[in-house]
């Protein structure tokens, strides 16, 4: 890779459309973008006051109501001598209030009652003796329901026990007694009732007070204990949305520019020039990555105005980079496979929906546990909410998408060549081309298998999630084997597909021995990567992930050495043997590969079934 040429291509990618847009438009557009970038976060967090000054109150400075009215932006202060009903809606005379005989004045009086309550609460919170100010305090804690099915069945016929859990006032950081707005801690699941109205929208939704957060959470105004819902993490939602939204626009432009290289063979001459395909791809991607990161930095900085913390902004940028690369990588591969803009639309929509879901949902529920860290946006949200983030958590959150993006770009680069870019080659053939481009020998086969592990894990997760409902329908003796079949199919395909692709492209020598070597390395690569990913999970998040808890909760301590060796060697032998069988088939022809793959899957299934049976799951 040549950095100078990569940057030259990046500059060209930015400027090649300059001829179609005059400078004035560029300047206006840039200013508009900047304004939106600065204003949007502010508006999202502070809200837009559309009802400012709609009620006119005639009140003097000496009136007890003056601070109430002056501090409420919905009121505009006027002279009390003004004409009631024409120039003012309310007139304050001592403690007496005269309202004009209009519906607007009636609404102003309602608003005034709210303003007085809020004003009184603020005054109460300034009292030194908070116990005197708020003699009764109620703390609500929300605990995770551990037995969902039982709770559902119970709630259908009896009183709901969903909120029972363990009321835990210490969970999270919310504490109304200190009088601080707890909007930031609205996701914590703790709401204190003594703090009055100004606790914040997110928290207030728990009590069904209303507001945007309350409506989103489905809360109502009754406020009885049975109707209390957990607080909706509105702020997390807004923050995650702010960071993920620009990516959806950026990938549209990126996908378009990548596909346009393929239309009318425009990119053909770049392939003839003395630059590598990685220079081309890197150069064309860099502007869009920079835009994504730059926008994230602007948003992060805007959210912290007026006191911008560079470290905090840096963390946001650091976290958004892998997710941006993942969006771009998926779009790049899609653009390489798409045969028209119509297909590209399908690709970008798929990428947008799937990756936004992946990035967005965990970041909303940042306190759902360590699992929320699968999205890098969780790091951003937690950072902006002032929560501490460990290096292990950052690595756990950022490395998988970074690695996945790398694999996607590598696969896409495999088909960034003449015969795949400019011909209507079928998707299966392009897939084989993409995989074959990465394999040259036994070491690259092992490496490619290892790099496919993130996809294997994601595919297995999706498969298990889809099949989970089977456990509700079928007995476990049937549903578990079905899940095992899915796992086996995914893993054996991951170990052998690129091997088959390599053979179709004559990457390996013919004969039994080379096939066995290639298969062995593929199985070895799978085994090592699988175990490495497990170790990373256990070491990075020892006390948080369910898997580690399950392991450490056995109470048996460390396994004995023979058992440990057995646990290690058995899967190694399995993966090597099955991968070798598939490789031997792949070395012959398509039919032999299909047959060998089925045999390998059968062996793998028997092994898995035996392990599950021994473990007592079925």
């Amino acid at each position: 890779m040549n950095p100078r040429k990569l940057l030259r291509i990046a500059r060209w990618e930015i400027t090649k459309n300059a001829g179609g847009v005059d400078r004035r438009t560029v300047v206006v557009g840039a200013l508009a973008l900047l304004a939106v970038g600065v204003a949007a976060p502010y508006a999202a967090t502070s809200g837009v006051t559309v009802d400012s000054g709609i009620y006119r109150a005639g009140v003097t400075n000496s009136s007890d109501y003056y601070p109430v009215v002056a501090e409420d932006p919905t009121f505009a202060v006027r002279e009390p001598s003004a004409a009631l009903g024409q120039d003012i809606d309310l007139r304050f005379d001592g403690l007496a209030i005269d309202g004009a005989p209009t519906s607007k004045a009636a609404a102003a009086q309602t608003e005034l009652r709210s303003s007085v309550r809020a004003y009184n609460n603020r005054q109460m919170r300034q009292e030194e003796n908070q116990s005197a100010a708020f003699p009764v305090q109620v703390s609500l804690g929300y605990a995770e329901r551990t037995q969902v099915r039982e709770v559902i069945s119970t709630s259908a016929g009896q009183d709901s026990t969903g909120g029972e859990g363990s009321a835990n006032g210490t969970q999270g950081g919310g504490n109304g007694t200190d009088g601080e707005p707890t909007a930031r801690n609205g996701t914590d699941g703790t709401v204190s009732g003594g703090g009055g109205e100004n606790i914040g929208d997110a928290a207030s939704s728990a009590g069904g007070v209303g507001g945007i957060a309350g409506r989103l959470a489905g809360g109502n105004a009754s406020g009885t204990p049975a109707d209390i819902s957990p607080p909706f993490p509105f702020q997390s939602l807004v923050l995650a949305f702010l960071f993920v939204l620009p990516l959806n626009f950026i990938i549209q432009a990126y996908g378009s520019t990548m596909l346009s290289e393929r239309l009318k063979r425009r990119g053909e001459l770049l392939l003839v020039a003395p630059v590598s395909r990685f220079d081309i791809i890197g150069g064309k991607t860099l502007p869009y990555l920079s835009a994504a990161v730059g926008i994230a930095a602007v948003i992060a900085a805007a959210l912290e105005l007026p006191a911008v913390d560079p470290v905090s902004v840096g963390i946001s940028v650091l976290a958004v980079t892998p997710i941006a690369l993942l969006f771009l990588g998926a779009t790049f591969v899609g653009a390489m496979f798409a045969r028209s803009f119509k297909e590209l639309t399908f690709v970008t929509v798929t990428v947008t929906v799937s990756l936004t879901t992946y990035a967005f949902v965990p970041a909303i529920f940042t306190d759902a546990g360590a699992i929320a860290l699968i999205s890098p946006l969780t790091i951003i949200v937690r950072n902006l909410q002032g929560q501490a983030i460990g290096l292990g958590e950052i690595a756990f959150s950022l490395v998988p998408p970074l690695l996945t993006a790398g694999v996607l770009f590598t696969l896409g680069a495999g088909i960034y060549r003449e015969e795949d870019m400019f011909t209507q080659r079928s998707i299966p053939l392009k897939t084989l081309d993409a995989l074959a481009a990465r394999v040259r020998g036994k070491w690259t086969v092992g490496l490619t298998t290892a790099l496919l592990i993130p996809f294997v894990l994601v595919a297995e997760l999706l498969g298990v999630a889809v099949l989970y409902m089977l456990t509700l329908v079928f007995p476990i003796e049937i549903s578990v084997p079905m899940v095992l079949v899915v796992v086996v199919v995914i893993e054996e395909a991951a170990k052998s597909l690129h091997v088959y692709a390599g053979y179709t492209h004559r990457r390996f020598g013919s004969g039994l021995r080379p096939a066995l070597v290639i298969g062995t390395f593929s199985g070895l690569g799978f085994f090592l990567a699988e175990k490495l990913s497990l170790i990373i999970q256990l070491v990075g998040l020892p006390q948080q992930l369910p898997s580690s808890q399950a392991l450490f909760a056995t109470g048996t301590g460390l396994p004995t050495i023979p058992l440990a060796i057995g646990l290690l060697l058995a899967p190694l032998a399995l993966h090597v043997v099955t991968a070798a069988i598939s490789a031997v088939g792949a070395s012959r022809n398509k039919r032999a590969y299909a047959t060998a793959l089925v045999v390998a899957m059968a062996i793998h299934f028997v092994y898995n079934y035996a392990v599950v049976s021994i473990s007592g799951l079925i």
């Binding site: 040429k5 400027t15 090649k16 001829g19 179609g20 425009r266 001459l269 003839v272 020039a273 003395p274």
Partner: protein
């Protein structure tokens, strides 16, 4: 300058090029002709390093095809002109000059000189607003931006009007006179005949014949002898007071001479007519002959 040995290219189960072997000397103009689907474009793309051969070797100026060293020595002109239509000729050529590591000053001079030679005006106009002929000239200028030793041109005059076609062919011919090694394909056999030193005829992925035009005609064409006599002979046709008899061998000529003497006449002129390249091409394409 160019060495091609046992070149083969497969697309899935389809073999586009099979066992092509040829070489091109420095300064030579080598034409490749053949019917549609003969493998000409695939061969040229393998020469340019765009396509990876399934088997065989290609080297250009001593470098393997596809290496950056080779790319710096080669200028490629595809059949279509895949330009970035939102760019201007100057920005487009400047960009490629950077990719080919041409110094800014040299590139600037070279761009303007080449565009002058190609008689291309409107250099600040967007390429999308240009005519096909003008775009083709820009594409040719791009192929020369690195001052390459070897030019690989695929149908350089494809789809152009006759005037522009002649201009492009003349320009290509002038490049040959400057010492460039040129490999190009064309459907118009007249162009190939007029500027090529040697010609390869491809059919169904194979080079079925190659060599100088004269050799091809001698080896694969037919020679007719038109014998003019003072007396009428069987099968002769009267032309301008003489009688023309057509035979296909020197023995036939001797036979006509004998017949004329027996009829108390004489042979007054003998002319030979050889098959054109088109006739050789058609003959080979139809027969599927193999060298």
């Amino acid at each position: 300058m160019i060495e091609v040995r046992d070149l083969r290219k497969e697309y899935g189960g389809f073999t586009a090029v099979e066992g092509s072997t040829f070489s091109v000397d420095a300064g030579e103009v080598y034409g490749i002709i053949g019917p549609n689907g003969a493998g000409k474009t695939t061969t040229l793309k393998m020469l340019a390093g765009l396509l990876e051969p399934t088997a065989g070797d290609v080297s250009v100026a001593g470098h393997d095809a596809g290496t950056n060293e080779m790319r710096r020595r080669l200028g490629f002109l595809p059949e279509e002109s895949p330009l970035y239509e939102e760019m201007t000729p100057l920005s487009y050529l400047g960009f490629f000059a950077d990719l080919y590591d041409v110094d800014d000053g040299v590139a600037d001079r070279r761009i303007h000189d080449t565009l002058d030679e190609l008689d291309l005006e409107h250099r600040e106009r967007q390429l999308g607003d240009m005519s096909k002929g003008m775009k083709r000239k820009v594409a040719i200028a791009r192929s020369l931006i690195n001052d390459p030793d070897v030019l690989v041109y695929d149908e350089p005059a494809s789809g152009l009007d006759p005037l522009t076609t002649n201009y492009v062919i003349d320009f290509t011919s002038s490049l040959a006179e400057q010492g460039k090694t040129i490999v190009f394909s064309a459907h118009n056999l007249y162009h190939v005949e007029s500027i090529c030193d040697r010609i390869a005829i491809m059919n169904e992925g194979r080079v079925v014949a190659q060599g100088p035009l004269e050799d091809l005609q001698a080896k694969h064409g037919e020679t007719e002898y038109h014998v003019f006599t003072t007396v009428e002979l069987p099968g002769s046709v009267q032309e301008n007071g003489r009688y023309r008899t057509v035979v296909d061998s020197m023995d036939g000529v001797e036979g006509v001479r004998t017949d004329a003497q027996n009829a108390e006449g004489s042979v007054v002129d003998i002319r030979t007519e050889e098959s054109s390249l088109e006739e050789v091409f058609l003959d080979l394409a139809e027969s599927g002959a193999k060298t």
